[in-house]
Symmetry: C2
DNA sequence: GGATAATATCTATATATTAATATATGCGAG
DNA sequence: CTCGCATATATTAATATATAGATATTATCC
């Protein structure tokens, strides 16, 4: 039964998304490619943190790195990741009925797209 | 900035999916509701394992439990979860080019739906 | 070559997750 | 009421992950 191997693989993929910084990175990259510096600024995170979380996403082949001189540009490998995040957003939206403040922020985000 | 709180929340959601058994449970429940016993049989997992992973999904409000006498029927709360898994499947499909055996199994699964 | 900027990796410690096993709870049958 | 089945929870040891900080690598400029 390699259904199990497949499920382990899927679980690994979702685990790669299971971190606030990595979610942030993907949300930003879903819009357009960015350098590490830009990600640092947009996330308000320090350099090693961003770089380390990028390494996780790279290891899972979710993002790609393109080197240009001393800076590195990152992009999402599969545009479907943006769709995935969009569906996830709708699920949160349904789920958060009752948690007003988070819900408001989520709706603001949904409108923006 | 409660964008961060929101991202933490999203990360938690994905963490709930980040386990082979839980993926299995959701794939099965996406088809139709099942009792714990049915899940045990379908997954080939023992009772405490299934129950424990169901508890995780319950805690995140991803599944709902309905008690009928001594047995408990589980269902997925939001039908969008099935869509999420379907998109994830397409992402794996793109990503797995090169890993032939897993890819074959994945395509078999995609065809089935 | 040396200095500097951008990015990556490592290390140590704290914390979380898992798997296996044991035990507890609730309910229906008789 | 008590027995047995279905499910849930607790416990513990092993493993994995996160976080913060220090350090290493790489390319560019002089």
């Amino acid at each position: 039964m390699r259904v199990n191997a497949l499920r382990a693989f899927k679980a690994e993929f979702f685990r790669a998304l299971a971190h606030p910084t990595r979610i942030g990175i993907l949300e930003i990259l879903a819009g357009s490619d960015r350098t590490v510096q830009q990600l640092q600024a947009a996330l308000g995170a320090d350099q090693p943190t961003v770089s380390q979380q990028l390494a996780v996403l790279r290891a899972k082949n979710i993002v790609a790195a393109r080197k240009a001189g001393t800076t590195v540009h990152y992009s999402v490998r599969d545009p479907l990741v943006a769709d995935l995040l969009a569906i996830a957003r709708r699920i949160f939206n349904n789920q958060l009925i009752g948690s007003q403040s988070l819900l408001r922020e989520l709706q603001r985000e949904t409108r923006r797209r």
